[in-house]
Amino acid sequence: MEIQIRNLSKTYANGVHALKDVTLTIPRGMFGLLGPNGAGKSTLMRMIATLQEPDQGSIRFGDIDVLRQKEKVRETLGYLPQEFGVYPKVTGAQLLEHFAVLKGITNRRSRREIVDALLHQTNLYEVRNKKLGGYSGGMRQRFGVAVALLGDPKLIIVDEPTAGLDPAERVRFLNLLSELGEDAVVILSTHIVDDVSELCSRLAIISKGTILLEAEPLQAVAAMRGRIWQRVIEKTGLDEIRRAHSVISTKLLAGRTVVRVHSTTAPGAGFEPVEPDLEDVYFSTMTGHYR
C-alpha cells in the first residue's frame, strides 16, 4: 500500500496557485512533508484526506482512487487536521463514541473497548466524563489523536500535530505515531525539521505548491556532506557575506551570528566545514542550492 500522487494541481478562486503539478509517491511508514507556512502542505493533505478536490491530477492509495472512491479511503483513514474544535457541551467519551460509530464501529461491546483503550492510551480516561469545553489545548490535541486512531486506520494524516504540544508530549506523540507507521502510511506535515529527522523514513519538501525534494532523510543529509560551511560573524557583516556567498541559514548564538553557506568548494577565510544535518538539506532546498 502506497500513495501515488500524479500531476496534482489546484488554484483557488482568489488566484492563489496552491499546488502546481505535484507528483509524489508515499510508501508505507512515516512520511514527512516539510514546508514553510503557505507552501500548500495543508491543501495537499486535505486532498489526500478526501476533503478537497484538485483541479487536475490523481491520487491513488493502493488500488483505491482517492478522488473517486472517497468512502473507501475514509473507511481506513485517520485524519488529524491542523486546527479543529470540539462540541463544548459534550463529554470526551460521548464524542469519541459518536466518532466511533461514524467510523463504522457499530458493535457496542467492541466500541466500548476501543474507546476505553484509546482514552487510556491518550491519557484522557480520567477526564472522559468531563465536557470537552473544559479541556486544555494539549488535551484537545490528544483527543484529536484518539479520534484519528479510531477504526484501525491504514492511512494516517496528521497536519502540524506537534504545534500545540510541550516538548515532552511531542516526543511521546511522535513515538506513538512511529509505532503506527509500522503497518500504515503515516503522513506528517510539519515545518519543524526535527520532527521529520527523528522519525521519517522518507520526506518531501514543498514550497509554493511545488515539490522541491523527495528523498530519504539520511541519504539527503549524506549528499550534502562537504558542502556546508559555517562562520561566526558580527551582525554587521551579514549583508556583505550574503552578497558574496550562498547563505542558506543564519542563527544567533550568544549575541553573534552563525552563518551557514552552501558551497561545493571552500568559500574562503573564516569558514569552516561542518557536518550537515536535515535542516541544512531543508534550507538548501528552499534556497535552491540542493539539486
Binding site: 473507511e75 464501529i105 473497548e113 480520567e126 473544559g134 494539549g138
Partner: protein, 1198 residues
Amino acid sequence: MRCWEIFRFEIAYQSRRVSTWLYFAVLVTLTYYVSRQIYIDNARRDGYFFNAPFVIAVMTFLGSMMGLLSATQLAGDAAARDVQTRMDPLFYTTPVGKTAYLRGRFLAAFILYAVILLAVPLGLLLAAVVPGPEAELIGPFRPAAYLGAYLSLALPNAFVATAFLFSIAVLSRRAMASYLGGLLLFSVVAFSRGFVAGTLEWWELAKLLDPFGMTVLGELSRGWTPVEKSTRLIGLQGSLLSNRILWIGIALGVLALTQLRFRMAHHTAGARRMDKTLSGGPLPHGRVPVPSRAGKQATFGFATHARQMLAVARESFQEIAMSWGGLVLAGIAALAAVSATQIEHMGVPLFATAERITAFLAAPLTSPQEFFGMMVPLFILIHAGELVWREREARLSEIIGAAPIPEWVCFLGKFVGLGLVLGALQAVMTAAGILVQVFLGHFDFEIGLYARILFGLQLPDYLLFALLALVVHVVVNHKYAGHLVVVIAYAFMAFGPALGVGHNLLVYGSDPGWSYSDIRGFEPFIAPWLWFKFYWAAWALLLAVAATLLWVSGRDADLGSRLALARRRFTRRAAGLATAAVALILTLGSFLFYNTNVLNQYRTASDGLAWRAEYERRYGQYKGIRQPELTGANLRVEIYPDRREAEIRGTFHLVNTGPDAIDSVHLAIKPAVHTMAVRFDRPVRNVLSDEEFGHRIYALETSLQPGELLQLHFEVHFKPRGFSNRGMDASVVANGTYFTNDAWLPAIGYQADRELRSAGDRRKYRLSARPETPLLDDVEARHGAGWAARIAFEAVVGTGEGQVAVAPGRLRRSWTLGRRRYFHYATDVPIRNHYAFFSAAYAVHEARWNDTSIEIFHHPAHAWNVDRMVRSVQASLDYYTQQFGPYPHGQLRFVEQPGDGVSLHASPVNISYEEGFSLLNPGADQRDIDLPFAVVAHEVAHQWWGATLTPAPVEGAAVLTESLAWYSGMQVVERTLGREHLRRLVGMMWQVYATPRTRAAVPLLRASDSFLAYRKGPFAMYALREYAGVGQVNAALRRLIERHGSGTPPLATTQDLYRELKAAIPQPLHYLLADLFEANTFWELATQRVSAKQTGTGAWQVTLDVRARKVVVDTAGVETEVPMDDLIEVGVFAEGKSGEPGEPLYLQMHRLRSGEHRITVMVASEPARAGIDPRNLLIDVEGDDNVREITRSGGQTR
C-alpha cells in the same frame, strides 16, 4: 474617539458584506410587492389612498418586522463576532474600554438596521410611482407621511430591537442568542396583538406590551375612517407616544444592564465547576498496545450507514433539545396550553373536546398571522441553519468529513434529528392539550384524535418545511443568506395564493386543506390532502438528493468544485433516486392536475370575480324582466352518503302573477351541480344554454297568460369527480350531509346576487357603479319578486340506513326500502323559498309546546345543551305568539350541521346550527350568562323576523331581521331568566365597544353591517323599551307583522318599522327615536365626581358632577355637536356583593342639557356609587365612565 473607530470599523465591515445589501434589496422588493399586491386591493375596497399615511405607517411597521432577521444578524455579529472568531483577546487587551467598545458596536448595529429600514420608504415610493393602479387610488405625495412613519415607528423599533438582540448576544457571547431574541421579540408582538388585544380585548395593556407598535396601528385601523386613513399623519400621538417612551426606556435599561454585566475578560465556560484533574496527565511513556491491532472492528455497508445515520440524528436531536431549543419548545407548548385554556365564544367557555383543543394547537404551518403559525417555522428555520453549520462552527468539519460516512448519512441524520425534535414538540403539545382538558374538567381525551391531527396531519407539514430549510442551507452554503432564502420561501408558501400563485402544485408543501368535525370526521378531505403530500414528498426527495450532491464535507468550497464534486457523487444510486423522484413528481403531478384542472375547474379568486362580472355583462339585460313566480316545489331527493352523491328530481309550480303575458323563462343553474335537461308542461324551445355562466333561456311556444300555471321538471345530480385545487365539496358526506336549495336547485330569472357588489371590484371589472346594497328608498326593490315569495314545499328524501334526513315541513311518513330510509316532508303553510336538506346519524330529542312539536336533531355526543335549547324554544314560542302573532307551523326543529363555527341559521321551520354551538358551556361561565338560551331565543324570533316578516332587500333589512330578533330574544331572557340576567347579557353585548372601531357609520335605518344590525340595533330597541315601555314597542312590532307579514310586495323596510314605532310611543320621546334611528348619534356622558353626606334625618344627600354632550357622526367621520335636552337616567346604588352593581336606591329620568351639571338627589340609605345613564341605555362609546364610586365628603364618619 475610540468609540468612533469601533463604530467606523463595524459600519465599514458590515457594509462590505453582501448580505447587508441583500437584506436591503429584499426589503425594497418585499415592500414594493406586498404594498402593490395587498394595499391596492385594500385601498380599492375600503376607499382610501393606496399611498395613504396610514398604509405607509403599517408598511413601515411590517418592514421593521421583516427586517428583524437582518437586525438579529447585525446585532448578533456586532456583539459576539469577536468571541466566536476568537479575536476577543486581541480586542480586549487594547485600551478601548468596555464602554467605548459596547457603544461603538451597538450604535453601528443600530445605524445599519436603521439604514436597512430606509428600504421601506424607498419601496413604498417605488410602489406609488410605478404605473399600474388607477389614478384615483393615489393620493398626494406627502414627505411628512414617510418621515413621520420612519421616525415614530422604524427608528424606535430599530433601537429597541437592536438593544435587545445586542444585549442578549453580548451577555451570552453567542450570535445564536440574538436569533432566539428575535424570535422572542416577534412572539411578544404577535402575542400582544393577537392574544392580549385580539382574544382578551385588553387593548390598553396590549398597546403598551407590544414593543413594535403593531397593536396601536391595529387600533387605528379599526378606529379610523377611510378619510382619516388617507389624511391623518401617524406621529407620536397618544398611545404611540407612551408605547415608544416605555420601550425606549426598557431598551436603555437593558443596555445599561449589559454594560454593567459585561467584562472584557477571558471567558472560561463553567470554570468554577471544573475539576482539577482536568489538567490531565501527559501521554504515557513507552510502548502502549494499540487497540486497533486487535483485529477488524469496523464494518461497512448499509446496516452501518443506518446506524451512523441514527447516531447523527441522535446527536442532532440532543443538540437542539438539550439546549435553548428545548426551552423554546417547552415555551411554545406552555404558551399554547395557556392560550388553549381560553377557548371560549363571546366569553362563554367551550367544552374542551379534543377537536377544540387541537384546533388551537394545530395552527397551520403557513399562517404567520396566527401566533403558533409563526413560532414553529421560525424554530425550524433557525435550527436547520444551526444543524447544517454545526460541524463547521465547532471546527470539527474536517474530522467528520474524513469519516467513512456518505453524505446522505449526514444529511438524513440531521433531518431525522430535526424531525425527532418536531415529533417531540408534537408529543409535548399533546401532553399540554390533555393537561388543558384536565384543567378544564373535560375527561374524554380522544388521544387518537391528537395523534391523527398533530402527528398525522401537522407533523408532515413541519417535516416538509424542515427538509426544505435544510436543503436551502446546504445549497446556499452561507448561513445568513440561507436564512433569508428560507424566509422568502416561507413567505411564498404562506402568501403565494395572495400574491397570485394559488395552485397547490406550485406552492411547496401546500394542499387543499382539511378540517375535522365530530360529525363528519376528516372525510372527505384526507384523500386529496394525501395525494398532494405524496407529491410534495417526491419533491422533497428530489431536493434531498440535490442536497446530498452539494453537501459540503470538510471545508468551505467554491461553487465550481462543489459542482465538480456533485457530478462525481452522482452515482447510479443517486441517479436512480433522482429519477424515481422525478417520475413520482410527474406521475403524481399529472394525476393531481387531472383532478384539479381537467375533472374540475381550476379557478382563482379573481377568476371567480371575473365570472361574476361576465355573468352580469351577458345577462344583466334580463334584470327585472317579468318571470313566472314560484309557488310550489315537489322534490324527490336521493342522498347516497357512502358514495357522496345525490340526485334530485323535482317539479316547480310556477304562475304568472303579473298583468302581462310571459313568453320565455330564464333559468339560473348552479355551478355546484350538474343540471340535466329541463322539461315544461308545454312546448318550449331552448334558446340559450350557457352552462359556463349557468344561464338558460326557454322560449314558450305559447306564452303564459296572467294567472296561468306552468310546471317545470328538472333533475339535478351532485356527483363530484376527483377533487379540485380547493379540495372537496363536502355537501354530501358519509355522515353530516347538508345542502341548500340556493346552492343546488335551479332558480328562476336573472340572479342579481351573482353580481359584484363592492364598488372597487365593479370598477376593476368596468361595470357600472351601483350601491352595494339597494338604497332604502329604492322602490323597485320593495317589489322584487322571488325574494320573499311563499311556496308550498313537499319532498321525499331518501338516505342511507342508519341516517335521518331532515327537510322543512311536517314529517308525513317515513319508511325503509331495501337498505335505504325515506322521509316524506310537506309544509302545511307556505314557506319562503329558502330551505336546506340534512342527513346524518342524528339523535333526536323531542318536546312540545302546546300543539307545536319541538325537535332537536343532534350528534349523539353533543347533547350538552339540548334541554336548555328546548326550554328556550318553549319560552320563546310562548312569548312571541303572545306578543307578535301566531307561529304558523306545527313543528320547530334545530338541526346540527358539521362545522367548527358557532353560527346558527334560521330558515322556515328548520334552524341549523354548527357544531361549535353545541360546545358552549354556559355552566362554566363565571359571569352567569346563558348565551345558548339567548341565541336560541334569537333564532326562534327569526321565524317572525325573517320568515314571516321578510324585509325588502334594501339598506336596513338586517335591522328588521337581526336587530328585532335580538330585541325579541332579550325579552325572552328577561321574562324567563330575570331582569338581572338580561342586564348581564346586555353587558356582554356591550363588550363590542372594547374593540376599537370608527364611529363613522350610516344611521340605523340604513344599516347593513353586522355591528349595527347585531349590536347597535338591539341596544337602540332596548333603550326605546326602557324609555317608552315594552308594551308600546311590542305593539308597534305586532302591527308591523300584521301589515307586512304576508310576504307579498311591497315588502317592509326600516321606514315601516320607524313609522310604527313613532305611532306607538309618546310624542315627547320622538326625539330619542330620531336620535337612535335617523341619525348616527352618540351621547358622551360622564360622571366626573360624586359625593355623599348624611343629613341630620339619617338620609343621604348625593351630589353628582356630570358632563353631557351629544354628537352626530356622518359616514366620513365628521362630527357635529348637536344641542341636547334629553331625558337621562340618574341612578344611585347601594353597596353590592362583590362584582355586583348593588340595589338601586334611586333611578329616575332627569332632563339634561349639553355641558356640565351638578345634580343632587336624596336617598334613604348609604349609597356606594352613582352616575348618569348607569345602565348604558344610550349609545355612548365610553360607557364605563358613567358611574363613579362615591367619595364621602364633609368629614362624615360612619
